[in-house]
């Protein structure tokens, strides 16, 4: 933890921006560069920045989750998206898609791969944070 006013002030701004960018990367990943893994790395840097500025304890408080639980939730989510395919009578991890039609000509395509990607995101983020916070505290 560094006691730097400039760092702390700019961190407040930057962290939210970086986190938003990471969610953006996660969601756009299917059609443009990005995806769960890259997005997790980005948000990992955001939390690390926060840890340097405010200390690892603040990160833990802000997260409200034990970082190790993030890993578990992520893996369960990825597994669940795979099991959905299995439940629908198709091989494990087969992608299933639903098309939601909004209004006249606007439709959203949702699929289990998105949840799989979110699972990847949470797992990777949880692993990185577990390591970084432990290191920062030691």
């Amino acid at each position: 933890m560094m006691h730097s006013l400039i760092l702390r002030a700019s961190t407040r701004l930057l962290v939210s921006l970086i986190l938003m960018f990471s969610v953006y990367l996660l969601i756009r990943g299917h059609n443009a560069p990005g995806g769960g893994f890259s997005a997790a790395l980005v948000s990992g840097t955001a939390f690390f920045l926060y840890a340097v500025a405010e200390g690892a304890d603040s990160v833990r408080q802000a997260l409200r989750f034990d970082t190790r639980n993030l890993i578990v939730i992520g893996m369960l989510l990825a597994l669940a998206s795979g099991l959905t395919g299995l439940a629908a009578g198709q091989p494990f991890l087969t992608g299933l898609w639903w098309t939601l039609t909004l209004g006249h000509d606007y439709e959203i395509v949702l699929g289990t791969p998105l949840f799989f990607d979110i699972g990847v995101y949470l797992t990777v983020l949880g692993s990185i944070l577990t390591l970084i916070l432990a290191l920062e505290e030691s």
């Binding site: 990005g34 790395l41 799989f116």
Partner: protein, 753 residues
């Protein structure tokens, strides 16, 4: 002991005895249908891809085992509730107990060999957990490990045998093997299969020279010894031998191996039983005797001999589990299992004493007890043998005489004689504890008086299940005055003599065992310490904790193996020509090279890390330049995080001093290794380009990415859809690495604080 984590009412635990009771009732209702209509089969597909299905087949042999397992299981459950009252792991005990019982039931009913193997291993694992139940004691852990390793090794031999059988015959069902028995017996691999099956059976059923684990397994709570290590699990090997009798049996190898191993086990363990003073150890050695006798008779071919094996199986299960439960009651009530500290308990615990007398008389083979029937049929079977009946008869007589003596010792030394003053306040245990021995002993008497009945309903169907023969042996109380009767009288006379001299014999045996140059137990210990010694040695060589050593080993292995394969097999060399590059690319390469030199030259760790980051970033820009934005993005992020994480660590380390720098020679070696690894990788990558890979995959992904998977970013679609199983595996690795790293960091911190 009184630290109960969860409080279970005794009645809740007792209600779990409904499970064995239900199974017993179910098995009992099957006796008639199986007799009239043949085996009952169930078929559940399990791993269809590997042709493994949970095929169960319940025939007479399975039924006999099912009835024994469930009845003894019922009494053991009731008994354990009181025996372990207040124990802090009572919940896991009952879990293991019933899980074991179900696996054992699976073992004796499975028809598919792979299913049988899985159940076989499950019984081994639960036996391990139950022997090591009092895991705070070093002796328990040692015994549990020993039993696991010995029977587990046998289980692997069994797996090999099953695979060979499946490859040769093309069927995985035991019932399917029977039809091909004659081809199997003349197959060149018959010897190998037989040895492997025998290894599996002999380790499980504790035959010489693998017998040593069973007496050590007495570290388990006594109800477990009664259930697993006398009535059921150790009879798994006997079951296997009986099951494979019609498939592999009848050859000279089978007969001689089983008869000689069984005879050695039976006689030697019966003698050793006299040299014990711990009740449970005495019972363990006589269990070995019984298992030896069964193995010996399963080696025979005559119907009488196989009937003897099955009859004795039932006889033994009845009296031995009762005796073990008795030993547990005595231990529970008086606090000791040593013969010299016991005596005169008859008036103090009348119910237990009566049950013990019934069980011991059955063991000694007195008329009107079931043991008598078992003994008569045993002599009949031994005399009916075509191959060396003299050996079978003499081994049986000797072993039986010694068992008679043991029966006498148990009755007289524990329940007669002068009561010990310290046991003045001892009372009989609760009804739930003595009901098991009493009922089992009572069944012994009922069966002893009605042997025709038992023979008709239980024994003959069991023998018929693995022995096709028209003649069947009737069990009778009185066969008339014949050779078996004479042998019976001889046995009892010899038994009484052994009993009269049991004290000098005990001292003599104690002395002899102490003077033995080496025991099988010591051989086992030597083997285990040899293995761990080897482990320590390779740890010192390969894993000494120095990162430098690890990298050196990994890189030199890679360079030598990959380099050898490339040069000797592939023979594709890259064309060494420089492509046309723009000024921007040249500048990037110059930047990367400069950073490499900085990394090598600097002694400031932080600078080195930053320079490494520059290399990575430079590469990312190169990727971007060649149209791989996804790779570039990931590379950039990974690079950033690496620099961040490593700098946290390095900030806590002191700068390198000149004196700490490695020696010139070592540095030269490192440089050579690093250089060759780099050159090898580069050449391999360039060579790959020249191989002209087929582009069918690329075409497939290009076509299907958007239409089938609704994604325009092919890289991501591959990751989360087409190849998502790989990704799932990768995130498991990431999670494992994160948690392992966390554990390491925490451990380091607690070490230094």
């Amino acid at each position: 002991m009184n630290k109960t984590r969860y409080h279970y009412s005794d009645w809740i635990l007792r209600s779990s005895a409904l499970l064995p009771l239900f199974i017993f009732t179910y098995a009992a209702t099957l006796v008639l249908p199986v007799m009239s209509d043949g085996p009952i089969r169930f078929d559940l597909p399990w791993v269809p891809g590997l042709d493994i299905s949970l095929t169960f087949s319940i025939d007479g042999l399975s039924l006999l085992f099912m009835l024994i397992i469930s009845s003894v299981g019922f009494f053991v459950t009731l008994y354990s509730v009181n025996y372990l009252h207040g124990h802090h792991h009572v919940d896991s005990f009952f879990l293991f107990l019933h899980a074991f019982m179900l696996s054992m039931l699976g073992l004796v009913t499975a028809d598919n060999m792979m299913a049988l193997f899985v159940f076989w291993e499950l019984t081994t694992i639960f036996s391990y957990l139950l022997i090591g139940f009092e895991y705070e004691a070093e002796r328990s852990r040692h015994s549990a490990r020993q039993a696991l390793l010995v029977t587990g090794a046998g289980g692997l031999a069994l797996l090999a045998a099953f695979l060979l059988l499946q490859i040769i015959t093309g069927t995985a069902d035991i019932s399917g093997l029977v039809g091909q028995a004659s081809q199997l017996r003349s197959h060149p691999l018959y010897g190998a299969i037989f040895v492997l099956i025998a290894l599996g059976a002999f380790t499980k059923s504790a035959q010489f020279p693998f017998h040593f684990w069973l007496p050590n397994a007495m570290a388990a709570p006594t109800p477990i010894s009664a259930f697993l290590h006398s009535a059921t699990m150790v009879k798994g090997g006997i079951y296997l031998l009986a099951r494979f009798q019609p498939i592999l049996g009848g050859t000279p190898a089978w007969t001689t191996t089983l008869m000689i191993t069984g005879a050695i086990t039976a006689v030697s363990s019966a003698v050793l039983a006299l040299g014990q003073s711990d009740l449970k150890k005495i019972l363990a050695y006589t269990t070995l005797t019984a298992l030896g006798i069964m193995t010996m008779f399963l080696g025979g071919q005559a119907t009488a001999s196989l009937t003897a094996a099955m009859t004795f199986l039932l006889v033994h299960s009845l009296y031995k589990s009762g005796l073990f439960l008795m030993a547990g009651i005595v231990d529970h009530q008086t606090g000791t299992r040593q013969l010299e500290n016991l005596g005169g308990l008859f008036t103090r615990m009348p119910f237990t004493a009566c049950a013990t007398v019934a069980a011991c008389l059955s063991m000694a083979g007195f008329p009107l007890f079931f043991g008598f029937i078992g003994k008569e049929i045993m002599y009949k079977g031994a005399l009916a043998e075509t191959m060396c009946p003299q050996m079978a008869v003499s081994a049986a007589v000797l072993a039986n005489a010694l068992r008679t003596a043991v029966g006498g010792i148990l009755i007289v030394r524990v329940f007669w004689g002068r009561p010990k003053p310290e046991h003045a306040a001892v009372k009989d245990a609760s009804v739930f504890m003595w009901s098991g021995p009493v009922v089992l002993g009572g069944i012994g008497i009922v069966f002893g008086i009605n042997p025709e009945w038992v023979g008709h309903w239980l024994i003959t169907p069991a023998v018929r299940a693995f022995h096709m023969s028209s003649d069947h042996i009737k069990l009778e109380i009185f066969h008339g005055i014949n050779m078996p009767l004479v042998l019976s009288i001889l046995t009892i006379t010899m038994g009484v003599c052994f009993y009269l001299f049991h004290r000098p014999l005990y001292l003599l045996l104690r002395g002899t065992v102490k003077r033995l140059p080496i025991t099988t137990d010591q051989v086992y210990d030597g083997f285990i310490s040899g293995v761990t010694g080897l482990g320590h040695l390779q740890n010192r060589l390969l894993q000494n904790g120095s990162l430098h050593r690890y990298l050196f080993i990994v890189l030199s292995t890679f360079v030598s193996l990959a380099g050898y394969t490339w040069l000797s097999r592939i023979n594709v060399f890259p064309a060494w020509e420089l492509p046309l590059m723009s000024i921007r690319e040249w500048l990037l390469i110059a930047l990367i090279m400069a950073s490499v030199i900085t990394v090598l030259a600097t002694r400031i760790l932080l600078l080195a890390i930053c320079a490494l980051g520059v290399i990575g970033t430079g590469l990312a820009i190169l990727f971007l330049n060649y149209g791989a934005p996804d790779v570039a993005l990931t590379q950039l992020l990974v690079e950033t995080l690496t620099v961040v994480i490593v700098s946290i660590i390095l900030l806590r380390l002191p700068a390198l001093k000149r004196s700490e720098q490695p020696k010139q020679f070592k540095r030269l070696m490192d440089a050579i290794l690093a250089g060759s690894a780099g050159i090898l990788i580069t050449s391999l990558l360039l060579a790959v380009l020249d191989v002209n890979p087929k582009h069918t995959l690329t075409a497939f992904f290009e076509q299907n990415s958007y239409l089938a998977a609704h994604g325009k970013n092919i890289v991501n679609v591959i990751l989360v859809d087409f190849r998502s199983l790989d990704t799932l595996g990768e995130i498991i690795v990431v999670a494992a690495a994160g948690l392992a790293g966390f554990a390491l960091i925490k451990q380091q911190r607690s070490k230094y604080k």
